[in-house]
Symmetry: C2
Subunit: 120 residues, 2 copies
DNA sequence: CTGGATCCAGCCTGATACTG
DNA sequence: CAGTATCAGGCTGGATCCAG
């Protein structure tokens, strides 16, 4: 939306794309949704550092942008599943490409970090 | 594919990647550096919405992350050129892929924005 | 031209409490 | 379980000034 003057047509598309997914959490969320649909708490557990509120917001935004879809099961207790839309699934090559780059990045910068995903 | 293990530690790489480039401006800057090296003001003019301060910061961060390199010409007035490093250039497929997605995104969301402007 | 430092308003975020 | 509302505090980014 806040898409204003730019240096030409070329930047437009990537800017639009970045506007939607250029966010660490969004990217990671989308990445984790590449597989099967996930429930809210499932995602929440996946990202301990991501607060409840933020996760909610990110999911909302992604949903509004048509990248993920939210399926509510009218049950008690509530059950909601998030999955990629067709549009979201189109991001798969990009995300995987980014992951590949991430590997290179860590290699080349000799990042001596451990890939522990559990920080709970 | 290992689509079943997206919950695991594999997220590390994409997380690392997103941590570095998951920023609208960084992405756009990198995109525009895919071509020839650019000077500071050149970039600044390219992104009117991006403030002097932010551009400086983003460039610094990208530089520190080894994605772009900064070449200073010891002249008066100063001249500095920014270009992609080898690592940064590895992002090209990802960025282009993202751009392609951006096209789809705009199409599918029926974004009625006009991306035809002049190319400078 | 490039870019650092400072000030300050505004947004954003996490925590918490509450609803269905 | 899933999600919203509220609020205080921190962080961020823009504007500005200064420097090489």
């Amino acid at each position: 939306m806040r898409h204003t003057s730019f240096d030409g047509a070329r930047g437009c598309y990537i800017e639009a794309a970045l506007e939607v997914i250029a966010d660490k959490w969004k990217g990671v969320i989308l990445y984790h949704l590449l597989g099967e649909p996930k429930r809210f708490n499932q995602l929440k557990r996946t990202f301990p550092e991501l607060s409840h509120r933020m996760l909610t917001r990110q999911l909302r935004e992604l949903e509004n942008d048509g990248i993920i879809s939210r399926k509510v099961y009218p049950e008690i207790p509530p059950k909601v599943e998030y999955s990629l839309t067709d549009l979201g699934r189109l991001l798969e090559p990009t995300l995987l490409s980014l992951e590949v780059w991430g590997v290179r990045y860590i290699e080349m910068t000799r990042y001596s970090r451990n890939c522990q995903s559990d920080k709970s």
